[in-house]
Symmetry: C2
Subunit: 307 residues, 2 copies
DNA sequence: ATGAAAGCGCTAACAT
DNA sequence: ATGTTAGCGCTTTCAT
């Protein structure tokens, strides 16, 4: 439809003067498109996820999308309800980090045909059934922890502990640790492993528990940097020299990992880039029907002072 | 309207079986109520704000509200556009941390009659004009930094530096520092002050700059913990003993401030509680017409190892 | 107790 | 080039 420049200008003026702002709720209802993305995550307070969130929101904003978020604390119930909420709010796409365990009972039916991309975590085979296309953005964390463990071996460690969260099968950090042991022909010792959640507290509790049983630990692989911070704290209290007596390696490369004492050696995940990639993939799919796919980011070792 | 229990049950069954989920966009258009809150903040990556965000989202979710967020990086332009976006999306209320400087040119007209509460930052007098009622949730940070500076004096410091961000007049941390100096009859020395932004980089740059000019510094008040982390890092590199040679005090009490070496003494702000209070106030206003008001949270000193 | 219809603000198709 | 209208899915008012 052609509109004269004069009219166009006149209308623009009226709009500016009257302070009129079009109603995108009505627009969304009519167009069946709301220009909003839903983001489900465990906890925005976790620096790794807030970095991802920033990547998502920045990207979304550049494409005129906005993002609505919800913390699940890895609670299946909250996640399911949020999926329904997002459906109800007609989000154009969903980005989510689904719950770690219990994923096999996963019911994604409420997402309907809303395109989604899973970030940071992989969906296991059972849950994939009856699912349409979806995207994935992740780092192969099993490989990452395998590498981390190997680095500890190469630095001379023999009794390597592993403190991480319980996860699903695929890309489980714990499995990466196990594989490294196997490849090195080291017998697995249950008392060197502490599995709980991705938090500082887990690092503290885990390190203490392990030290109570084994005094010969000379290396610790941590599931993420938060855990590593807890580990470092316990080691400092016990005046155990790092890396001389015990070497520690973390994962994520959160901002703060560069400011621990000694500075934490860690496996970096490009969190901001991952968030950006997820949002880009989703928006490209929504706007131009580009296919959703699995995108794996490489991890990288950041050598600092604890290995 | 009365509905028989039988009918009610029959309908419920059909709903469950068919997987029907009501469309809240349509509902929102009709009711002029979307059950969503907008949250404008500088940067979700800042632990202080992610803590606030968590408080807001948790509270909102408990009241069946969801929250849409936007990072402004303290850019007036992005903030203005987001305000318009929120209006367009018919959010029921807005919570925001507005830009630090340039607030006097503030144009809040696009919020219209959407209720809002300002968090963490105070609106100056100019901007307040022509504004309806609004809420405020904050800590008197000028007083907090005044206290912090006084504590340093009481610990024996004489040459106290101040590294913080540039802010508006009211509750400015810098002013708190100035007032402490005045009350102690200490002459103000410009070379002891570094003003930039609330980041680790500012702490690093500021500490280096000040140390270059003054070697007799014996205390540093930091505008927030991020800055303090940068300061601690420089001091460790220069092998300056903390607190023996230089005492450092931070502000916010972010999770990580408890894991620096030495552990950072800081002024705590109850970030989560503040987010919760803001969301509660807003929702109570929306649902029950409770008045919006200014709520001040007390700061508190967390004694650790750097003072 | 149940059904019908109007209208929230917008867009797209159609008529002038 | 401009004006009119139907309908997105919901709630509410009014009829039956």
């Amino acid at each position: 439809m052609h509109i004269s420049e004069a009219t166009r200008c006149r209308v623009r003026n009226i709009i500016n003067e009257s302070g009129y702002i079009s109603n995108s709720i009505a627009r969304g209802l009519k167009l069946r498109k709301t220009y909003t993305l839903g983001f489900i995550l465990p906890d925005i307070t976790n620096p790794y996820f807030s970095e991802i969130a920033r990547g998502i929101e920045d990207t979304a904003r550049h494409h005129q999308y906005s993002v609505i978020f919800c913390n699940t604390d890895d609670t299946l119930n909250i996640e399911q309800r949020t999926l329904e909420l997002f459906k109800s709010k007609m989000v154009d796409g969903i980005i989510f980090s689904h719950v770690l365990s219990g994923a096999e009972k996963y019911d994604l039916s409420s997402v309907g045909d809303t395109p989604f991309v899973i970030i940071d975590r992989c969906m296991n085979q059972e849950a994939k059934r009856n699912l349409g296309a979806y995207g994935e953005v992740y780092v192969n964390t099993a490989e990452a922890i395998y590498d981390a463990t190997m680095r500890l071996f190469q630095s001379g460690c023999r009794n390597i502990a592993c403190i991480t969260a319980v996860e699903g099968e695929k890309y489980s950090r714990y499995n990466g640790y196990r594989k490294a042991l196997t490849d090195k022909n080291i017998v697995y010792a249950e008392e060197l492993v502490y599995l709980n959640e991705f938090s500082v507290k887990t690092g503290v509790d885990g390190m203490k528990a392990i030290l109570n049983v084994r005094t010969d630990v000379d290396g610790v692989v941590c599931g993420n940097d938060l855990i590593a911070i807890g580990v470092l704290d316990v080691l400092r209290e016990r005046q155990i020299a790092i890396p001389e007596q015990i070497r520690v390696i973390g994962m994520d490369n959160i901002l703060f990992s560069n400011f621990t004492v000694p500075r934490l050696s860690t496996i970096a995940q490009p969190a901001y880039e991952m968030g950006k990639a997820a949002a880009d993939m989703l928006i490209n799919h929504i706007e131009y029907h580009m296919p959703l796919y699995a995108k794996t980011f490489a991890h990288s070792y950041v050598a600092r002072e604890t290995v």
